[in-house]
Amino acid sequence: MKAPETMREKWIIKEEVERIAQLAHIELTEEEKEVFTEQFNRILEFFRKIDEVDTRSIPPMYHVLDIVNVYREDEVGETLPKEGVLENAPKKEEQFFKSPKIV
C-alpha cells in the first residue's frame, strides 16, 4: 500500500485500474475506468470492515472445508472424445485451438 490507511482517501486510483486492466488483457473506456475505480473502492471498503476483526491469534485458513489430503491414485481415466474437445472453441484449426498471435 502506498500510504497509511488513515491518510488515504481512496483505496485505489485510476492508474491502478488501468494496470489491472492491462494485466487482464482488456481495454476499458475512460468512462469504464471511472466506474471501476469507484466500484473497486467500494469493494475494498467492505474489506476494511472485515479488517476490524482482530485475527492475530487465528491461523490462516486455506480451505473452507475442514478437509486435508484429498488424493487420487495415478490411474488413467477417461479423456474427452476428440469431437467434443473443440466444440466450444471460438476458433480452431485441424485439431488445435487457435489463438491470436502472442508476440
Partner: protein
C-alpha cells in the same frame, strides 16, 4: 580485486517433468503426450472448463518427496497450492496451479543442497526450494515466433506434473551450471521418477550477475546441453557492457536456441504481476512423518551408493566407478553387459576409453547411439575367440555405435577376420622383407627395426594379422638370416 569472471554468480530454476507418472498432476488424463494427436489427452480439468475440480495425484507427491530427500531438503509439514495468474494461451484457466513461498504459502520442501565436483574439488550448491506445479500447454507457431500470424494450442501437455527446483546463486560458471544439471538429472533418473532423454522433459531458467551489474534472468533454456551455451553468451554480453561503462539493467531475456543469443523479453512496464492467491479447489496437504518414512523406505539406490557398490562388487577403481555412474543409462548399460558376460574390467575398459570418447567427441548421448550391451559384449567375445584383434575392434566400434550392426556381420562383410594362417603370413612377410632390405639389415642388430618390420606386415594386412603370430614370424625370419650370416662367416 576479483576479475569479472570470478564475480559471476548463477542461480538456476529447473523444471523437470515427473515422466514416470501415468497421469497428469490434477486429472486422470494420460501424461505421455509426446507424438500424440493434439488435444486428444484432455478433460474438463486440464482444459480449465468451468465447474471442474482438480484432484492431486498422490504418486506425484511421493515422487516429489523422494526428490526432496535426495536433495537433502527439509520437507514441509503442510503444503498448499497457489494460483499464479497470467494471461497466455498456453494456460487454459489463465492461471497456473503452483506453490508459493510467500503470503503464508509453503512449498513442498526448502533448504536443501547438492555437492558438485569439478576437477577434483567439491562444492556445495544450496537449493532454496523444491515444489510441484502443472506444465502449461504447448504452443505451435506458424513459422518463426515473431512472424507467426496466429498461435495454435495443444493442451495435451497441460497439467503434466512438473517439479521445480530452485538453487541459490552459488554456481560460479556456466560449466558448473552444466555439471549441476547433469548431477541433478542423474539423481532424478536413479530415483526412477524422471527420464531426461525425453524431449523437453528438463527445462530451465537461469539468473546471472557479474560484478558491477544487476541480476538478469534468462528464460527458455530447453535442455541442459543449452545451459552452458546460453550462460556463456550472457557473460560475454554483460562483460562487453561493463567494459563500455554501460550499466547492466535488470531484465528478463529469452534464449534463442537457433540464433544462439539472448534477446530482451520484457521491459519494466511489461513486468508481470502474478497476483498469487491460494488455490481453494485443492485441500491442504499434510505431510506426516510416517509418510516420509514410508517414502524413505522405498528410495532406490542413489548414484553415490551405486559408485560404492561398483567398486566393491566389480573391483573397479573409484575414478572408473564415478565415470560409469555419471549417468544412469551408462551405469545400466554396464550392468547389462556384466549380466551377459562377467568380465567387469574388460567391459569397463571398452566403455571408459573407446565408447565414451566416441560419444563425447560426437556430442551424442548413449541413448542416441545404436550400440546395445549385447553388441558390445559380442564384440568383446570376437576378440576373446581370436576372430579379430583388439585393433580391429577399435576400428569397428564406431560403426556399431552409428549403425547398430551386428559386430559379427561387420567383420564378415569387411573381411576383417584376423589372419592366423601362418603360411599366408609367411608369404606376406617375404614381400615385406623384399621391399625393406635396409630395415632387414638393421633388424639384425636393432630391435627397433624389427618392430618396424612387424608394423609393415600389419599394414600390409590392414591390421588383420594376428599380432602374436606376426611378431613370431618376423623374429623367426630375422633369426634365420642371422644364422645364415653366421654360417657364411664361419
Amino acid at each position: 580485486m576479483e576479475s569479472i569472471e570470478e564475480s559471476v554468480k548463477i542461480g538456476l530454476e529447473v523444471h523437470t517433468q515427473l515422466t514416470s507418472l501415468k497421469t497428469k498432476l490434477f486429472c486422470n488424463c494420460p501424461s505421455d503426450y509426446r507424438g500424440r494427436e493434439p488435444n486428444t489427452l484432455v478433460c474438463p480439468v486440464c482444459l480449465g472448463l468451468p465447474g471442474s475440480l482438480p484432484v492431486l495425484n498422490k504418486k506425484a507427491v511421493k515422487y516429489a518427496i523422494m526428490a526432496a530427500l535426495a536433495l537433502n531438503c527439509q520437507i514441509s509439514e503442510e503444503m498448499i497450492f497457489f494460483r499464479k495468474n497470467y494471461y497466455y494461451p498456453d494456460l487454459p484457466k489463465n492461471f497456473q496451479i503452483t506453490q508459493y513461498d510467500r503470503a503464508g504459502g509453503a512449498p513442498l520442501a526448502v533448504n536443501g543442497y547438492l555437492y558438485i565436483e569439478d576437477q577434483g574439488y567439491r562444492k556445495k550448491i544450496r537449493i532454496s526450494r523444491v515444489h510441484l506445479e502443472e506444465d502449461p500447454g504447448r504452443l505451435v507457431h506458424v513459422g518463426p515466433i515473431d512472424q507467426s500470424p496466429y498461435t495454435l494450442v495443444d493442451y495435451n501437455r497441460s497439467g503434466v506434473a512438473l517439479l521445480e527446483i530452485v538453487t541459490e546463486p552459488d554456481l560460479k560458471s556456466p560449466k558448473e551450471a552444466r555439471i549441476f544439471l547433469q548431477k541433478l538429472r542423474n539423481i532424478l533418473e536413479h530415483l526412477g521418477i524422471f527420464d531426461g532423454s525425453l524431449e523437453g522433459s528438463m527445462r530451465c531458467d537461469a539468473n546471472i550477475s557479474l560484478a558491477g551489474g544487476t541480476r538478469v534472468e534468462i528464460k527458455n533454456i530447453t535442455s541442459f546441453k543449452e545451459v552452458e551455451r546460453a550462460l556463456n553468451f550472457e557473460i560475454i554480453r554483460q562483460k562487453g557492457l561493463v567494459e563500455k561503462g554501460i550499466t547492466v539493467k535488470r531484465e528478463t531475456r529469452h534464449w534463442d536456441e537457433i540464433r544462439r543469443i539472448t534477446v530482451s523479453l520484457r521491459t519494466k512496464e511489461e513486468e508481470q504481476d502474478y497476483r498469487y492467491f491460494p488455490e481453494m479447489d485443492l485441500a491442504p496437504i499434510l505431510i506426516s512423518k510416517s509418510f516420509i518414512e514410508e517414502v524413505k523406505a522405498e528410495m532406490p539406490e542413489l548414484p553415490e551408493e551405486r559408485i560404492e557398490r561398483f567398486m566393491k562388487m566389480y573391483g573397479l577403481p573409484k575414478y572408473d566407478a564415478e565415470v560409469l555412474v555419471s549417468s544412469k543409462s551408462l551405469a545400466d548399460f554396464f550392468e547389462e553387459c556384466i549380466k551377459l558376460h562377467d568380465k567387469p574390467k574388460e567391459i569397463s575398459n571398452w566403455m571408459m576409453s573407446d565408447l565414451l570418447r566416441y560419444l563425447y567427441e560426437n556430442n551424442i548421448e548413449l541413448y542416441e547411439s545404436k550400440i546395445t550391451p549385447q553388441k558390445l559384449v559380442d564384440m568383446i567375445r570376437l576378440i576373446e575367440e581370436g576372430v579379430i584383434s583388439g585393433k580391429i575392434a577399435k576400428k569397428i566400434l564406431p560403426e556399431i555405435i552409428v549403425s547398430g550392426k551386428e559386430p559379427r556381420e561387420i567383420v564378415k562383410e569387411k573381411g576383417l577376420i584376423k589372419i592366423m594362417d601362418e603360411d599366408l603370413l609367411n608369404k606376406l612377410a617375404d614381400e615385406v622383407f623384399a621391399e625393406n632390405q635396409k630395415a632387414v639389415r638393421d633388424a639384425l642388430i636393432d630391435d627397433k627395426a624389427i618392430h618396424y618390420l612387424i608394423g609393415q606386415l600389419m599394414r600390409l594386412t590392414k591390421g588383420k594379422a594376428d599380432p602374436n603370430i606376426a611378431n613370431k614370424i618376423i623374429r623367426e625370419k630375422i633369426q634365420k638370416i642371422r644364422e645364415k650370416e653366421l654360417r657364411k662367416n664361419a
